[in-house]
Structure formats: structure tokens, C-alpha cells
């Protein structure tokens, strides 16, 4: 009895952790789109089939253990044709049943996998997502280059429309994972791949890198924000506009600091001379919710800390420490705060 209580106490945390995957911030079994729903359906099929198989195996095992022991049988009994026949029937039935079960799982798995990539004939929105150490470079594709939109760590999508996410990596293997909308997809350097996302309801879905990719793997998060189509179109149109170089006030000073200092070497601000592609595009920085791929919220204080000491916030990140005097820094924050 006491052993039983101890076992329950030890198992309880594991069960709690396992249940956390069903709901909460990153729900794998609370689908919000058709792809995630298919995956969840197949997961439950596999789960219940496994439960039945486990129950049957345990039942047979317990039955065998509980059965009266047969006294050492005479040698002739082992060649008893009746025993032999029962054995053949039993083993054949078990093998047949296992084969059928596995076949059912295999066929349903393949069918699910094929259906995941189905647009249903709709015109998908194409988004290129590049995994980098340690953030996500997002580009909304458009045949007209000037209409393409580049952002980072935040993917806005319209509700009800399929989104073709083309994944790739620029350095090491990453894995794109937004549990509420789809399964994992590895981004392998040199091998592009893709997945189809669709959200059935508006909401914010958390995602992260699901393949260990270096020291800051844990701080490589992203947000997928599903919005009604008209809100999404307005957002996309807003992202297409260039920033205006400020003409006066502290923001003007900040603009000069940005252009003459280290920032412009790695970051792009559309409409200004800054065109670096090494770091995230900052044209609409102030409209994003987080900094450094979900490491800290996007507030002026956190932004200042990130600029001055990124290695304290996210050790190993590619952003180097910068030193600005207080006036230059507050001017820079005024400029960056205006990039909405």
C-alpha cells in the first residue's frame, strides 16, 4: 500500500507535465486549424490503439502468471497434436492481428501525412521563413519585389486562408514548430522544405525552434498571429510602407546615431541608407511584441538593455555589445520607437 502511494507521488509530476502539452501556451492536442486537427486525430487513433494493445498484452501476461502451474508434463504431452494445433492457431491469430493493426496505423498515417499538404484548391499566401542563430527571418513573398515584406519572429496570417510556409536555414539545423497549427518541420541548410498552416480562429499561437541549434536554442521563439482577413491586409499594407527619416528632435539625432554607428552595418530600415541583411529588419520594429526572438518584451527599457548589453540578455547572440553615451542612447530609442 505504501509503495503504491510512493509510486503515485513520484508519477504525479510526470503526468502533470504530460498534460501541460494538451493545453496552455503551446497546445499540441488543442488544434486551431485543419492541419493540426488531422495530426491530433491521428494522435488519438494511435493513442487508443496503443492503449488497447497494451491492455490486451497485460491481460494475457497476468492470466499466464495467475494460471495454475502444470506439473512437469510427461514428454509425450509436448507432442500432443491437440496442444500443437491450439498453439498454431493462437500464434497465427496474434501475428495476424498485429499485422492488421500495424497496417491500419500505417495507412492512416500516410493518409494524414498526404492530407497535411492539401490547400483545397485555395490560393495560398506564401511566407519564407529562414531559421538563423537564434531568430526567425520572415519574408512575405510577392511577385513584385517592392511588395515583399520582411519581418522577424512574428508571422501574421489571415484566418481561414492556407499559408504556405517555405522553411530553410542559413546556418545549422533548426525546426519550425507551432504546435497549435501544425507539427514540426526541420529546416536543414541547403534543403528547402515547406508546410501548410491554416488558422480557423483568430488568436496568437506560440512557436519555437524544436531542434537543438546552439547555446540560445531555448530563446528562439516565434509568434503566429491569426487575424481576420481585412485586419491582416491592413497590417501587410502597413508593413510595406517605408520608414521616414525624422527631420527634427531627438529622433533626428537617433537617426544619425543609427546611420553613423554600428547599427546600420547589420540592420535594414527601409527608406533610409541602412540596408544590412545580417540582423532582423527594423523598419517596423516598434510594431512587434517581443525582442530577440521572444526573449524579452518589446519595451523601451528592454530595448535599451538589449542594445547596450545583448550578451547579458542572451549570451552568445550575434548582436555585439554597443556603447553609446546616455544622450545618444535615448535619441536612438526615440528613433527606434518611431518605427511603427
Amino acid at each position: 500500500m505504501r509503495a503504491c502511494v510512493v509510486a503515485i507521488r513520484r508519477l504525479a509530476p510526470i503526468v502533470v507535465v504530460a498534460c501541460a502539452a494538451c493545453s496552455g501556451r503551446m497546445p499540441a492536442l488543442d488544434p486551431s486549424g485543419p492541419q493540426a486537427a488531422r495530426i491530433a486525430t491521428w494522435w488519438w487513433i494511435a493513442f487508443w490503439v496503443s492503449v488497447v494493445v497494451l491492455a490486451l498484452v497485460l491481460a494475457f501476461l497476468l492470466h499466464t502468471l495467475a494460471r495454475r502451474r502444470i506439473a512437469a508434463a510427461p514428454a509425450s504431452a509436448t507432442h500432443d497434436p491437440r496442444v500443437e494445433r491450439r498453439l498454431v492457431i493462437g500464434v497465427s491469430a496474434a501475428v495476424g492481428l498485429s499485422a492488421v493493426t500495424l497496417l491500419v496505423l500505417l495507412v492512416s498515417s500516410i493518409a494524414t501525412g498526404r492530407a497535411l499538404h492539401d490547400f483545397g484548391g485555395a490560393d495560398p499566401l506564401t511566407v519564407q521563413v529562414t531559421g538563423r542563430q537564434w531568430w526567425w527571418d520572415v519574408e512575405y513573398w510577392d511577385p513584385v519585389p517592392s511588395q515583399r515584406v520582411r519581418t522577424a519572429n512574428e508571422i501574421h496570417i489571415p484566418v481561414g486562408r492556407p499559408v504556405l510556409v517555405k522553411t530553410r536555414s542559413s546556418d545549422v539545423i533548426h525546426s519550425f514548430w507551432v504546435p497549435g497549427l501544425h507539427g514540426k518541420k526541420d529546416n536543414i541548410p541547403g534543403h528547402g522544405s515547406s508546410l501548410v498552416l491554416q488558422a480557423d480562429r483568430a488568436g496568437t499561437f506560440a512557436g519555437r525552434c524544436a531542434e537543438f541549434c546552439g547555446v540560445q536554442h531555448a530563446h528562439m521563439q516565434l509568434l503566429v498571429i491569426a487575424e481576420p482577413p481585412e485586419v491582416f491586409e491592413a497590417w501587410l499594407q502597413g508593413q510595406r510602407t517605408s520608414a521616414k527619416a525624422p527631420t527634427e528632435g531627438p529622433a533626428r539625432r537617433g537617426f544619425e546615431v543609427f546611420m553613423s554607428g554600428p547599427c546600420a552595418l547589420c540592420h535594414t530600415v527601409l527608406g533610409t541608407p541602412a540596408g544590412g541583411r545580417t540582423g532582423p529588419d527594423l523598419t517596423h520594429l516598434a510594431s512587434r511584441r517581443t525582442l530577440a526572438a521572444g526573449t524579452v518584451p518589446n519595451t523601451p527599457g528592454h530595448l535599451a538593455g538589449w542594445i547596450i548589453d545583448p550578451q547579458g540578455v542572451k549570451p552568445g547572440a550575434q548582436m555585439p555589445a554597443n556603447s553609446f553615451d546616455a544622450d545618444d542612447l535615448s535619441a536612438l530609442l526615440a528613433f527606434l520607437g518611431g518605427l511603427s
Binding site: G261, P262, L265, G312, P315, A321, N322, S323
Partner: protein
């Protein structure tokens, strides 16, 4: 005898501890723009560290050094993998070339690249002409290998054939 061998191996392993030590937060000056004190003929702090040289290799692309110097073979700018150094090959001389620029095209990166990264670039640039210890040097990129790596080899592609006479 055996104990001595084990101890020797352990000692060798300890030597390797420093090889890739990562110093993420180098102390930045308290205030003001990145400052670049004129380096005296000094040892490059990045040159004994494989991670720092590899960072230099990444930065070489990130800051578009390859735009002019290609992968060391040169183009618009001079080659960096040969023995000819117009402005000197010592770490402090390469440092000065990056920070202050040189006539006929090399821009000054002073005030734009943090000091620690300049030293990492210096180490990588020197490694291209074999001036950095061989166990510290980063390897050549896959696409620049003389012999294709085994993983990159494509068995499924037909061999290119010389165009024959038209029939």
C-alpha cells in the same frame, strides 16, 4: 607505466579546454562610441581561440568583406591568402587597415565594428594565409573543397558529357 600514460592523456585533454573558450561579453567601454586605441605591436587576443576565429569567418561575410576580397582570393580588393601584404601582416597592422581604412578603396570601419569583432576578423584574415595555428584555423567551406565531401556527392545526377557532333 599505464598510470603515466593515463595521466599524460588527461593532461593533453586539459590543454584542449582553452581552444574554444567563448568570451561572449567582452567589457565594452563605459560610454561613447566604439573606441579603437592605436594598437601597439601586441598579440591578438582572438588568435589563440578557435571559436573567435570562426566568429571572424562569419563576420567576414556579414560585413561583406567578401564583396571585395572574395573568399581570400581577391577581386576588387587585394587577395588575402597570398604572401603579399601592402600594409603589413602583423595583427596590429591588419587591425589598423580595418579600423582606419587604406587608400584606393578600403573603407574605415572604425566606430562601426566593436573592438572585439575587429580582433576576430584580424585573426580570421591572418588564418587565410596560414599565419594562425593550424588547430585553430576554421575549415574551408563545403562548396570550396577541392574534393567534394562524401555527403555532398550526388550519385543520382548524370555525368556531364561533352557535346557531340549533331546528327
Amino acid at each position: 607505466m599505464r598510470a603515466v600514460a593515463i595521466l599524460a592523456c588527461a593532461a593533453l585533454a586539459l590543454v584542449a579546454c582553452q581552444r574554444e573558450q567563448r568570451r561572449f561579453s567582452e567589457v565594452a567601454p563605459a560610454s561613447g562610441r566604439p573606441t579603437h586605441p592605436t594598437p601597439q605591436a601586441q598579440a591578438n587576443p582572438a588568435e589563440g581561440n578557435a571559436w573567435a576565429v570562426a566568429q571572424g569567418k562569419q563576420l567576414y561575410r556579414a560585413y561583406n568583406c567578401n564583396g571585395c576580397h572574395a573568399n581570400g582570393g581577391g577581386g576588387m580588393g587585394p587577395a588575402l591568402m597570398d604572401a603579399t601584404w601592402l600594409y603589413g601582416s602583423a595583427p596590429d597592422e591588419v587591425y589598423t587597415s580595418i579600423v582606419q581604412g587604406r587608400p584606393n578603396g578600403m573603407p574605415a570601419f572604425g566606430g562601426r565594428i566593436p573592438d572585439q569583432q575587429v580582433w576576430q576578423l584580424v585573426a580570421y584574415v591572418r588564418s587565410m594565409s596560414g599565419q594562425v595555428r593550424v588547430d585553430i584555423r576554421p575549415t574551408r567551406d563545403d562548396h570550396m573543397q577541392v574534393k567534394e565531401s562524401e555527403q555532398a556527392r550526388r550519385h543520382d545526377l548524370p555525368k556531364p558529357t561533352a557535346p557531340g557532333p549533331s546528327r
